[in-house]
Amino acid sequence: MAAAVGAAALALVPVAASAHAQLIGSEPAAGAVVATHPAIVTLVFSEAVTPVGRGISVYGPDGRLAQSGPAAAQGARLAVQLTAGAEGTYAVIWTVIAADTHPSRGEFTFSVGHASPVRAPGIGGGDVGLVSAIGLVLQALGRWLHFAGFALGFGAATYALFVARDPRPLRLASVGIALLLVAEPLALLAQTASIDPAQTFNSESLTSALASPFGRVLALRVAAALLLWAVLGALRQAPWLRWSIPALGLALALVDATAAHATSALPQPLGLALNALHVTAMGVWIGGLAGFLVAPVGGFGRVAGWSAGLLIASGAALALLHFANPLQTMTTVYGGVLMVKLLVVAPALYLAWRARRRWELAALAAVLATAAVLVSLPPPR
């Protein structure tokens, strides 16, 4: 089953482009003053998008919706038909989920004839990384639980079955499965809250989030958690099935990689592999460490050393690829959070070197939290 799952996961993952859909152009352009009333507003994004809710909301000078029906997507283009309206300034709000499952939103205005005061209910300030602040917090929380669940579920089980050969850490795997099953619904709410906190539980928003590539990734993640639960139950009858646990973990890491930040600097499969390697190494280290605290064996030091090495190497490569120039580490939110992450990684490595395992685990949990924020933010490149 492991091989089947691995092959299926590879075949099924959506093709990710770069990271977070950004608006790269529109017709009418942002801030433009056009002479005639346009029939259609068209938005062009940096990658293929799925509209969430209406997708585009155009408000007329009177502050009312000035469109007929929701927006329609065609690849990276999103278009909406306008109803005839008065002269003045129109406000446009767009809400989408990108091919790589990241939500984003934004707004701009254009004017017909002449500018006028804007009466539309705009997004206002306070957005971080193209989403609402509360949405970003929920996204980060969901990812944190997901990563922790991944590490405990697959990492601790792999440690128990292959390193310690002791069933006790398998209890951690059940905790990991529970974390994964909590994290995924939270991730769904984070999507809708990112687009519009007031519409978090709106069924139309939830529907469009589920219909987007995010919905498929969500299903595959829940599938991985359920399969792990099924396999754990079957181990007594078929010990050889233990091989499917690291295989399933790898498949989930690949699914996660498609929902992480691919980089335009590398061919896509390479970027996916790098992301998956990073997540897998994290799971082996943190899950193994948690398992070690339950059932310590001497072999763990070597496993931890190797996975930490891979984690740092793949992390460094990903970081380098996400910045166009060193200055961006100072000027972007993404860069700032990365700096914080590095500050937490240092003590974790020191504690690992001194083999202070309990503190090492606490430090790594903090690193995981910064990583969860980082994946929720749009990288500079």
Binding site: A4, V5, T207, A211, R216, A219, A223, A230, A234
Partner: protein, 424 residues
């Protein structure tokens, strides 16, 4: 000289009975459009009768098990055939929707429900010790195939000769079955002075005669106190939801949604039926040899993965869909033989009929629930993706459930959970 063991005669009669019962049950599907044309009833109105029919087909199963214990298999099957014949024959006089609900829904539902999978379980377990799984597989396959092979003929009759002819043909076929069953069906091997096929010791004695309703309810309360019952009923609920409910009802409209002609879409289901015969027979054969929990683990696990694959298969044109059909067809009711075997292991063969009846009722509840829910999802979301993926995830859950069933010896289980009605 070695004569043919009478168990095979009983199995053959049962096979034809199940084939017919499945065909009778599926007839309302063919009648929907003709009835709509003649009486102007809406599709929703007619669907109520189909829903009642489907629900009773399942919910009557435990009571049928109780009836067979009390009055014997032969009398119950003869009665059921009479019921179907009457229900089907009387429809030619109807002119109000409630009459359709009563006749096709209630009467035919109860009649066919009395000859459904519970009959297969009881016959296979009473008459066979060796080859029990294989026989059960063959009987179950008859039930699944019967729902498919008569449809073209019935549809042809309804279109060319009118729906009344089709209803009368069903009534006549049920009547023709009565002498066959009355002459050759026997309740127990002891009735013809034999032991069960391959049995080395004498039969379990026939249980004391019980009131069928109390037997059915006693079986339920006995089951509810056993963890294995919940695991079996829960996984079978998911089985019903992911086969009859979701794919059986919604594969055709989903395929049409994706631009496939209706006839092609309908033949997809027919192919599922063909692969299902092979799959269920193989599953029965495997049940005689391999741990049933292990089989169910794989069936549900692979079914879940293929459902998760389905939304992508629609994107891959015919090849992907064909792959899905083969995979899904082999697994369609392959779950029945291992589930029956586990029920017999846990509750003992003498309690199998009623307890399995409830587990099968859970199967039909799942089917009815999913048929409705998937339709609602389609209406509301405009797409089946969520329905397919949710049921795929449910199947993976079922894989985890079945593997946690504990191995129990039947006799112990009976001692631990004595039937309250046993002294009756």
């Amino acid at each position: 000289m070695k004569r043919l063991h009478y168990a095979w005669v009983v199995a053959g009669i049962t096979w034809f009975t199940l084939l017919g019962a499945a065909g009778f049950r599926s007839t309302p599907g063919v009648l929907i459009v003709p009835l709509q044309h003649e009486f102007g009833w809406s599709r929703a109105t007619i669907s109520i009768a189909v829903s009642i029919n489907l629900m009773l087909f399942g919910l009557f199963a435990p009571f049928a098990g109780g009836l067979m214990e009390r009055f014997g298999v032969r009398r119950v099957v003869v009665g059921a055939l009479l019921t179907v014949s009457a229900g089907s024959g009387l429809t030619i006089f109807m002119h109000q929707p409630w009459q359709l609900d009563l006749l096709w829904g209630v009467v035919v539902g109860i009649g066919t429900g009395s000859m459904a999978t519970v009959l297969a379980a009881i016959v296979a377990n009473r008459w066979f010790v060796q080859r029990r799984g294989l026989v059960l597989g063959a009987l179950t396959a008859a039930g699944a195939t019967g729902q498919l092979i008569f449809l073209p003929a019935l549809a042809w009759l309804a279109v060319n000769m009118g729906w009344r002819t089709a209803a009368l043909v069903v009534a006549g076929a049920a009547l023709l079955g009565i002498p066959l069953v009355a002459l050759f069906m026997r309740d127990r091997p002891a009735d013809v002075g034999l032991r069960a096929y391959g049995a080395t010791e004498a039969d379990e004695p026939a249980p004391p005669l019980r009131n069928p309703v109390r037997a059915a309810l006693g079986g339920l309360s006995m089951g509810m106190r056993n963890r294995n019952f919940w695991l079996l009923a829960g996984s079978f609920f998911i089985c019903g939801a992911s086969t009859n409910g979701l794919i059986g009802t919604h594969l055709i409209p989903a395929s049409i949604d994706h631009g496939m002609p209706e006839v092609t879409a309908a033949s997809l289901l027919a192919f599922i039926g063909i692969f299902d015969v092979a799959g269920t027979m193989i599953s029965g054969w495997l049940t005689d040899r391999v741990d049933s929990r292990w089989l169910l683990f794989w069936y549900y696990g692979l079914r879940g993965l293929s459902l998760l694959f389905l939304p992508y298969a629609f994107g891959m044109q015919y090849f992907g869909l064909f792959l899905f059909i083969v995979f899904y067809g082999l697994d369609w009711v392959a779950t029945v033989p291992p589930t029956v075997a586990l029920t017999a292991d846990t509750f003992g063969r003498r309690n199998l009929g009623v307890v399995y009846g409830w587990i099968f009722a859970s199967h039909q509840l799942g089917a009815a629930g999913a048929a409705f829910a998937a339709g609602a999802v389609r209406t509301y979301f405009g797409d089946y993706q969520l329905a397919f993926m949710t049921s795929g995830l449910l199947c993976l859950l079922a894989a985890g459930l079945v593997i946690r069933i504990s191995r129990a010896r039947g006799s112990e289980a009976v001692v631990v959970a004595p039937l309250p009605a046993a002294s009756y």
